[in-house]
């Protein structure tokens, strides 16, 4: 299983543990993630689009063109990149006028994109190419009793006419992975509720209000940790958790782990290879009970 890997900017910086743990898990499962040479920013959802829509689509298109040269489908870890690249791909398929404009821009820079590349999320690959059975087979450490709150967020599952491998209202893909590695999913309300995304940078109070609600909901459902599939959700829930606690004068203290880190723990991969020390809310206590 070989894919054109699009890490996205945060995988090398603020979400290092996600990139590192995905590579480790991929090695166990026989997935080869071949990084797209010289990839660029995907267009970042609304960040570039609101500034200049055509520019945003063109940034995505360059990545699609680079992947097409590799003759592989794109796999990405980041939900926002997943959405942005998928949206550009869809618009280029549907809108011939836009396609004409973007083709011209690509040609002027010595690139071309005919529209053959599919954009997929790593979670989709795990479920549909690797399969739950193969994932279960590799479990070496029992996660017995670990109560997990799967958090889906937004762009992994919405909008269904752009990203379409799970149900937008009642998603189950993360739940299935957690079950396959022996964790126990807790049922809680806010698993598809928005964390506030990039509002964390521009209107932090609003983001913190939104994230606080879902952290507390998971905590009150007796979850030991929250698993996430998105670097930005992780940043808001993990790195900002202390600020949220002090702003709202609440005690939360719930570890936020990437689902690939949890899989790695179940596969018996060392904490170092999963970069567990990079999570801001400590995971020490969480996994100590497991190794014991």
């Amino acid at each position: 299983m070989k894919y054109a890997y699009f890490p996205g900017c945060s995988i090398h910086t603020t979400a290092r543990e996600y990139g590192v743990s995905s590579q480790a898990v991929s090695k166990v499962l026989g997935i080869e993630l071949v990084e797209i040479p010289d990839w660029n920013c995907c267009g970042a959802m609304d960040a570039v689009y609101a500034y200049n829509p055509l520019l945003s689509i063109s940034l995505s298109a360059r990545n699609l063109a680079l992947a097409e040269k590799m003759k592989m489908d794109i796999v990405t870890l980041c939900s926002a990149c997943f959405f942005t690249l998928s949206r550009a791909n869809k618009l280029l398929h549907e809108d011939s006028e836009l396609k004409g404009k973007v083709d011209k821009l690509l040609t002027e820079s010595g690139l071309q994109y005919s529209g053959e590349v599919k954009v997929r999320h790593y979670l989709d690959v795990l479920l549909n190419d690797v399969g739950l059975e193969n994932i279960s087979k590799n479990v070496k450490v029992k996660l017995d009793g670990l109560k997990v709150a799967p958090y889906y967020g937004c762009m992994l599952i919405r909008p269904p006419n752009v990203v379409n491998f799970d149900d937008p209202e009642h998603p189950t893909s993360l739940d299935k992975i957690v079950e396959a590695i022996g964790g126990k999913n807790v049922d809680y309300m806010y698993k598809t509720r928005c964390c506030g995304a990039s509002l964390g940078l521009t209107e932090a109070d609003v983001m913190m209000g939104m994230t606080k609600d879902l952290l507390l909901e998971a905590k009150n459902s007796n979850a030991d940790c929250i698993v996430v599939p998105c670097p930005l959700c992780h940043l808001n829930m993990d790195a900002k958790q202390k600020s949220i606690e002090s702003t709202f004068d609440v005690k939360i203290g719930i570890p936020i782990v990437f689902f690939t880190q949890l899989m790695g723990v179940a596969f018996g991969i060392s904490p170092k290879e999963l970069a567990l020390d990079k999570n801001c809310v400590s995971t020490d206590k969480l996994f100590k009970q497991l190794h014991a």
Binding site: A47, A50, S58, S198, A239
Partner: protein
Amino acid sequence: MKANNKHAAANDRHVITAQMLDKTFLAEVMKMKGGQDVQDCIQCGVCAGSCFASWAMDFTPMQIVRMLHLGMKETVLSSSTIWVCASCYTCATRCPRGLDIPMIMSGLKNIAIKENIPAKIQIKPKFHKSFADIVQKYGRIHEPELFLKISNKTAPKTMMQDAVFGLTLLRKGKLKLKAPKVEQKAQWSSLFKNASKEGAQ
């Protein structure tokens, strides 16, 4: 929180006068991506009820769409709503008429940026421009530079929070001070420059 006051303020503005209407605005909106469907809205309110950020907005998404119908350009473009929308797509997923509301909001942000309309969340236009500028330079985002550019240096409280946040990430080795670099420099510059120019028209 202050959200209650924001809603109260919005409710006071229920009188619509002729001066508030711009007859050309609806046509302009309908030319944007997503805007072509704006007249399909039946004002059912599912978007307003679904929005997780509506408590921080001065108008709900449903109200914004209705104001687009009426041509209330200035009111819409100076609302906080267009900047608070986080593009989570809950509204669009549930809309029975298939409106792509987040894309409409992005389009409205784009008009507000182009026309230099003062934003309710002051830093937002700068956020979008800085993001694009940094990507142009390096091909990818360089977080420390973005943080510095948009950090509000006039508000000590948020500045403190930003500093603590930055330090937390630095200590964890999650901020790279060295900027990323695009390899195919000429190809990148020409694509970025041409797309910016073409898209700005």
